[in-house]
Every structure is written in structure tokens, then in C-alpha cells.
Subunit: 136 residues, 6 copies
């Protein structure tokens, strides 16, 4: 049977929810306070879960120092203390909902991980709103 | 691949575990302190998880304001600051164990949600005792 | 300088807020949902803080096994899985608000502790409502 | 002896640390990532602590429904889903450090509370960075 | 559909990561600070999840008092306040990584549980490092 | 009025409680499981609180990057992934109770901080056992 390991991380960012194909009234109606043109922000908490077989020599699925460094390089350096809409390539044209941020993070990490490892990403936008990809 | 989103909620209620088909001695033996005829209570913490496909226009699986309102109307208004055994239809004849409360909540929400969305409910009776339906 | 140590504990109980000198309408107006005649309940979280001088032989202010046992005997056995209004002497005629519960706990513990130790009690009725006695 | 009660609340906001009397290089040197001209953001967690004497009729220091509504009206409505630098009067010319936000909140609440109540405000900018006013 | 219940527990232990087939330099290079010959330690938090069908008479999947006692006897008594490398049979020759500890716990509990119950074990080595077996 | 700021940190260490002036039986009787000659361990969580006047130019009491670096250099590098009894000068002859660790940390930091800043240290040995110096 496979085993899973998780490393937690976090980044603090500003964002605004907005669909440029809609007029202001519809954006306001759908996204409410999250549509504020001047942005708001969150402390995003991130859980990166990998699943696979234990390496018998180390007793590790993966060295968490390596996973931690990967998350720092690919995710924290890219998104921490940034405005997701203005400062990042990923959300120039993609609406930075928690769902889309979670999938973007999954894709950024997937490309850097060995194919033998399964990947799940759980993102807490607040303590009460959580997203997980792929689905639980 | 599908994505999942979760909204947390909570309600504070009194309850008593009791099987009316058993005598007092057996109820005491099986349910212990939880059988107290005068009731005890909990701060129930609730996680409602939905899974499905993202709406490309909004970037949402579901607007959490809608899910939050549904939980308020169907669950919080029904159970918050209530005596589950005495004040609710659902537990008049059903023993309000965490397991049964979790399944009742699942059924109440399932009937109000679009069939395209998968539903899971996680209920914390205390910080140490958790129930999830369907099974993890 | 003195040092403080804290031990956490918890008890799960039912209660109802009610002033018998008021009529039902006033009780409902003041205590709202907390006045439900059939009770509701909480997972009460408790922090007991003692302050004083370290014992040089042990390096302890107090052996936490002793404090933990005192809390179990004086507080948990008295209130856990109880209906505060119906099952306890302390709240037969005293309204079991978080404030009053906190002061009752302080008095129960104060009588059992060495006079050289200062005592503070912090009580969480929910994650969002906290009481501390004496005042911070 | 006085007793204290606490109500928790939260607001999600964008901000930028910046001193307009300094040039860009000094702002960058002092405030680092927090000086990002496009802003970043946080989930601010707030604890409002009041101290005073219990009302013997209610058993309350203060009805937490009243305190909760006051926090909503004075703090959450003002700061939630806002850009502190651009959308609020309070931080048009005041640098929105956690320290300054905490003192602004204290002043906003102080003016609305009975003089017999002592007030403390604790603000969590992240899980690791906390501010309290007046000092512990 | 099956339901899951979880009971949390914890134990505090010392350990050292080390592969006796490697020389000191390689152990240091792979395990870093965790290879300290004098050991370090953790507060391990444990979640034991069982899945199956509810007993209609009790409304329980399993009486959590029974599960709690099983965890105490099989896991806490064995590992709490121990040096995993020196004081336990299980890790005399097995490297006590979080992954291996999690699988050892799974095997210890699996042998004592009814075959109709599915078992998952989640182990927190720290707040940031988590392992789950079988994989999520 | 002064303001307080707090930075959290953590270190994982092994330790053993022992008084060399007592025989084994007395050590076992007083310190129980904590006297295990092979050590056990904890994830120590640390809160460092400073109080003083805000710098009007920065809006900071102290730059938390500076405080964070000080904690890393003075505390984390000294104690993280160490055996407190064997690997540190501070606890060669001082019993590493939570109380003594807290005071040692206070002294290490006090010597490096400006005299205008008041210092408090709160140390969590586990989630349930906390120490604070000076006393609350």
C-alpha cells in the first residue's frame, strides 16, 4: 500500500475576483465584496500531499527538506507578499478564486515532481474556506 | 479532474444518548456519562465538502455565500442552541450519536444540492472525536 | 520574579441562561437562544494558570500531575457530562453564564491551592467567547 | 475583583507598508516585501477584551451579542475586504502596520464603550505575528 | 454507504534518524539535524480513523471508549515518554521516520481490530509535517 | 500607553528530568515518565513578547524580521534538534523543566534586547502545558 506525506506552507497575498467579460454590476452581484477594485487579501495556508512508496534505505517517501524547498521556490517566492492579479503571470487573465489558485499550484508542483508520486493540494483561503485538488 | 471546496460552520446543542428498547442499567453500561437523563452538550463543528467541476465563468465550484446560507438555513437554524432529543424532529426517535447526526446533516443537505455535486460531511463532536460520511 | 504555569482541561455540559425573577418575555429578550427551556450545550475549554516561585529542587512551580489531578477531581468530575442547571449544587440558583462558571471554578480551586500560589482561570465557552478571572 | 470577557472577530484586507517621507530605496530596505506597491494581504484575527464588574441580574459583564454587533459595525464593516491604504480614512496617512491597526481599532471601540469597562485589543496579522494594545 | 470515525491521541518521544549501513558522513548528509547521535524529540499527534457500518442498536460505528483504550494500551503505553530507538522493540532495527512510525502503528492496531473495519492512521510529527497510511 | 508585539517560533528537542542529588527511586517517584534515562522529547512552541513605544517613522515597535532573526540565532540554533541535557551548556547542570527552559530563554534574549523593551516569554511544552515568565 502507498503512504502519503504532507508539508504545510503559507503565503500572504492580495487579490480581487473579477470577470472582465462582465460589466461592473454583474461582477458586483456575483463576487460581492471580493470584487473590490482596490483588492483585499488573505493569509493562504497550503498543504502539499504526496503519495507513493517508501524508500527502504531512508524510510522516507520523500525528504521533506526537498519538498519544502520546492514549495518555497515554486510557490512562496512566486505568490508571497504579491498582488495575485497584478504581480503574477498566472493570474493576469485567470480569476484568482481559491479553486483556480489551488489548480495553478497543483500544476506548478506537478511539473517538478517525479511521476511516481501522486499529488494533492489543499488550500485554506481562510480558516472556514478550503479547496482541495483533485477532489477528496 | 474534479475539485472540492469546504465551508465550515458550527452549532451548540444539548443531547443524550439513549436506546428506549433497553433498560436503564444497559443504557448506563453502554453509553456511560453520555446517558445522563438531564443531558450534556457540545460545540459541534461542521465541515461541508462539495466536489465537482469548476464553473469557467466564475472560477467557482459553488459560490460559498450560497453554500453558507444553505448550511445556515438547513442545519444551524435547526440545531443551534437546541436540545437535539427534545427540540428536533430528526432525533425524536433516532439516537443523536455523532454518527447519526452526521448522516442526518448529509441527508438534509443532499436534498438541496444539485445532483452534479458530490457531498461529504465531517462533524467534530469534540476536538478529539470526529465523524465523516461517507467514509474517507 | 514569579513564573506562571498553565494546565488545560475540558468538560462538556448542558446549560440554560435564565433569571427566575424575570418573566418569560424578558428572559427571552435578554438571553435569546441561550434561554431555550430544553437547554443547549458546550465543550468548555479550561486554562488554569498558577504563579509563584520555582522549587529549586524540582525545577517546577508545581508538579502538573498534581494540578491535573486537582482539576479532574474538583472541576471535571463535577461538571463533565452534566446539566449545569439541574445536576450541580453550584448553579441551582446561580445563572450559569461563562462569567459565573469561571468564578465558580476559581473559587473551587482557590480553596485547594497553597496560599503562596496566585490563580487565574480562563474559560472558553466557544472558540470565539472567552472569559478570564481575575481580569487580564 | 474584575472579570474579563473576549469576543473574537476577523477581517480580510490588503495593505502596503510605506513611509511617504522616505525614498523608494529606504522604504524597500526597511519594509522589504511588505512595501510591494501593488499591495499584499492578510486574514486579520481580532480579540476584543473587556474588563469590569459582572451585572448581577444577567450574570454578564456585557452581552456578547452587543459586543459582537459593535465589532461588526465599527471594525468589520470598515476594514473587511478593503484595501487599508486606499479604502479607509484611518490609513490614508497612517502606515497600516499591525501596531497602528491595533491602536486604531482600540480607539474606534473605546469611543463606543461605557467608561466603566477596560479595553484591550489583540490583533493577529498572521498565526506568528501578534500585537496587543495596551501592552500585556 | 460506510461512515468513518476518528479518535485523536498523542505521545511524546525522542528519536534519531540513522541508517547503520551508511557511514557517518552519509547519515549526516541525508538526515541532517535529525541524525543527532544524542537524539531530539517530538509531540506526536495521532488520528486513528475507522470506517464501516453503523450498529443500529447503539448508533455507533464503534464505542470510542473502546477505541480510546485500545490506542492507550497499544500505542501510548508503548511509545509515550520513550526513546523510540532505544526503548522499543519496533524501532531497534527500523529507522523511526514519521512514515515508518505511522505504518508500525497501523500494524499494531490492525491486529486488534475487527476485520470488518477499515483502518487509516494519520500521524503529525510537527504541525507542518504529516503522514497518512494508507495513502489519501 | 505601551504596545506589545509577539513573534512565534519553535524547536524540537529531547530531554530528561533528573535531580543528581536524589537517588533513582526518588527521581522516579517525583518525575515519573519524564525521568526516563533514555530521554523523551517535545515540539516546543515559543512566543516572545516585547512591549514598548512605537517608532513613529516605521509604525513598528520592532521590526519582526530582526526579532525573528534574533530568536533563530539565540534560541533555535542552540536548542533545535538537540538533546537539552547532553548537547547544551545551559542544561548540563540545570534540570530542563519547562519552567527552567523558559527562564533560560528569557535570559538569553534579555541580554540582546534594548533596555527600553519589556520582555515576556511563553513556552508551550505540549498543547496542554504552558509556562510564562515573568508571571502573567
Amino acid at each position: 500500500m502507498k503512504i502519503s506525506v504532507c508539508r504545510k506552507a503559507h503565503f500572504n497575498a492580495a487579490h480581487r475576483l473579477h470577470n472582465p467579460e462582465w460589466d461592473d454590476a454583474k461582477n458586483k452581484a456575483i463576487f460581492g465584496k471580493c470584487n473590490n477594485p482596490n483588492f483585499h487579501g488573505h493569509n493562504y495556508q497550503l498543504e502539499v500531499w504526496l503519495s507513493g512508496k517508501i524508500d527502504e534505505e531512508t524510510g522516507y517517501l520523500i525528504d521533506l527538506k526537498i519538498l519544502s524547498k520546492l514549495i518555497e521556490e515554486e510557490i512562496e517566492n512566486r505568490f508571497d507578499h504579491k498582488n495575485l492579479n497584478l504581480d503574477t503571470e498566472e493570474f493576469k487573465t485567470l480569476n484568482p478564486t481559491a479553486e483556480n489558485i489551488c489548480i495553478v499550484i497543483w500544476n506548478l508542483l506537478r511539473g517538478k515532481l517525479d511521476a511516481s508520486l501522486d499529488l494533492k493540494v489543499r488550500l485554506f483561503e481562510t480558516d472556514r474556506n478550503i479547496v482541495e485538488y483533485p477532489a477528496i
